[in-house]
Symmetry: none
Subunit: 207 residues, 4 copies
DNA sequence: TATGAATGAGCGTTCATTCAT
DNA sequence: CATGAATGAACGCTCATTCAT
């Protein structure tokens, strides 16, 4: 029991150290970007020794990857398949809710959003593939939703794969603009952004 | 005359060397990205000595910047203001033509497109600013076009700045998907992409 | 306590490494000069890795500057203002003592003397200024001593600034000859040098 | 004859090119020092092509050495042995004249003086040896003069080698101060410098 | 577990010199 | 003789990672 307690306490300490390092890394990576962030930056901000870092993470790449995975998970849990069973809320409402939640999530995780949209491309092949997978899954869901919509007659005939990418791109750009780029004037509220994006997606720009 | 001839030939040789280096750099940067490309990679691929590189370009950054500037210029010449004077072609036709030309240009410059969409963010502040300026100018043109459209009654009431970004994002994503990401299946033709993006932009997804 | 012990030991090790590097650098710089000494020379002679050097010194320039500063400090502590208050030893005795100490100090620090007299000019503006400041301070002290001597009537009327530089030059040349230049025959003893220089300074060459 | 004329003209052109390069090099070396002067600096200032430089001089080192040799020759012709045959001018007058001429020569060749006193030490072993030889010859002449003076009874008993170095050092320092170091206030005239140095050398500082 | 000194491959850049034209 | 493009060894420095304590 005593030993178990010790082990458990050690385990807990270990986890909290890890968490602390991750948090620090999230902040610093978000501020300076992957390449401009050195191990030095991380350990100094975290107040641990050089070697300690490598006790918890295999490499600089590894801790960054873990941050990315966390963000993927967070976002993935935000986006669900559209429910088209009878009795479910109308698809449009569901989509609206999803988009709202995406914006809200990124708003709550601006640092991670910065990382995702600023840095996660071009670092190396593995990162790129990971990122492509992530967006690919979202894309797939949108594509499916569009296909369903077409079948149900609520969506006009269109190339679901291309349009799906358009929607994804619109959302990414809005998020980038809102949370990543340093903006001079006041940014529109999350709600406004969501409303406009959805309206655009649904009806386009035509009068 | 003789001397003129010599000078002219030397000048030509010099330019062709420069061009060759730029071409090699375009390929390598496009494949490996800015950070992962070393001067060694460039000179080995170009078959020149270390010092020769610096005869033509001030630094690694400089040659990359030149590639970027070239792409900016190429794209900028592709995008014009919409002409709304009476007698001009209908705005929609103009927009269609512009989008078509953008896709065609990027299609012809896939390597540069890769660089632009994969690398140009997060390298350093100057690059970031340059990129932001570039997109900012395009964004501004779209915004103005939307405002004009609203005034003319052909565009529904909307927030021009947000929707402008949506359109930009949609186009960027399509381009990225089409020319940057290694695609398994056959990519849709440029014409198809243009048609779908425009239709989406104009009318959204609603039936 | 245990931790304190560890920290203290580490501190000591750190200092001794630094000292070892400085010592090696002193030797190599003294032998080959600043420009001809490469970081490679230093780390090879010290038996440390490239990075280790930069753990202790910011740059090649920095370690050289530190050596120079050390010599300045050593010499500065050797030279004092002449005490002319009643009861103090006669000025001539004081001057004799100072000159003796300068020679002795440089004799004990031949490597540093080599550096000071061989290298410290023309390296860069900062070094040059530093050196000029150092000699300027000594020059100032001699000038003042001469002025005082003239006032007291023990020094003949003369241009204190020019003669001060003459004295400085004489001493520098003797030191250079004695400790810097590789000499074939046996060098005169420090005491002899001091005696002759002082006699020359005081009475010149005239019979 | 015609051919001879051509050859002679070519010869003359060759020499003037060389001379022009030397003159330029003198100026630039004097301003920037040996290490900070690049071949680029020289050929740009001289308005010749890179390869042309190597047509006239073997290396950067070679042209610098030639400048140095020129200065040595100029100065050597300034300093003569003291004539002690009966009927010759009194030795003191001769010494005075020599010192005056040294100062005047250096005054007329400030650029070379800068080079000689700022740069010629520590460049490499050969330069150092050359410089040592040059000063050695002057030193030898002063030593001999002192020995003669002692024999004649006009110079007090002293160690001729040490005192000779003192005199040399005094002169070098005065020259350095006057022509090399950037001086704020007005420099004393050459005549004043010469007078003070000689007086100091002859009688020291004692009243 | 925690430390931080040590490592060394790798980088971008410079510049004296060569050589084909 | 003149050119200037080409060369490549050498340099100072960085930083992710290792390891003895």
């Amino acid at each position: 029991m005593v030993i178990d307690g010790r082990v458990a306490r050690a385990q807990r300490q270990r986890e909290s150290r890890r968490a602390a390092l991750l948090q620090v890394a999230r902040r610093i990576f978000s501020q300076k970007g992957y390449h401009s962030t050195s191990i030095d930056d991380l350990i100094e901000a975290a107040g641990v020794a050089r070697g300690t870092f490598y006790l918890y993470f295999e490499s600089k790449r590894a801790i960054f990857e873990e941050l990315l995975d966390g963000l993927f998970a967070t976002l993935a849990s935000t986006v669900h398949r559209i429910d088209v069973t009878p009795g479910a809320p109308p698809p449009i409402e569901q989509v609206t809710a999803i988009v709202d939640r995406i914006f809200a999530t990124l708003d709550e995780n601006r640092e991670l959003a910065r990382i995702l949209l600023r840095e996660a491309v071009g670092l190396d092949e593995d990162f790129d593939r990971k990122l492509a997978d992530f967006y690919g899954r979202i894309d797939h869901m949108i594509t499916n939703a569009l296909r369903t919509g077409i079948t149900l007659g609520v969506v006009r005939p269109l190339d679901p794969e291309i349009v799906s990418r358009c929607i994804l791109g619109a959302v990414k750009e809005i998020v980038h603009q809102a949370y990543v780029a340093p903006q001079g004037s006041a940014a529109p509220s999350t709600a406004t952004l969501g409303r406009e994006v959805i309206a655009f997606t649904l009806t386009g720009v035509f009068a």
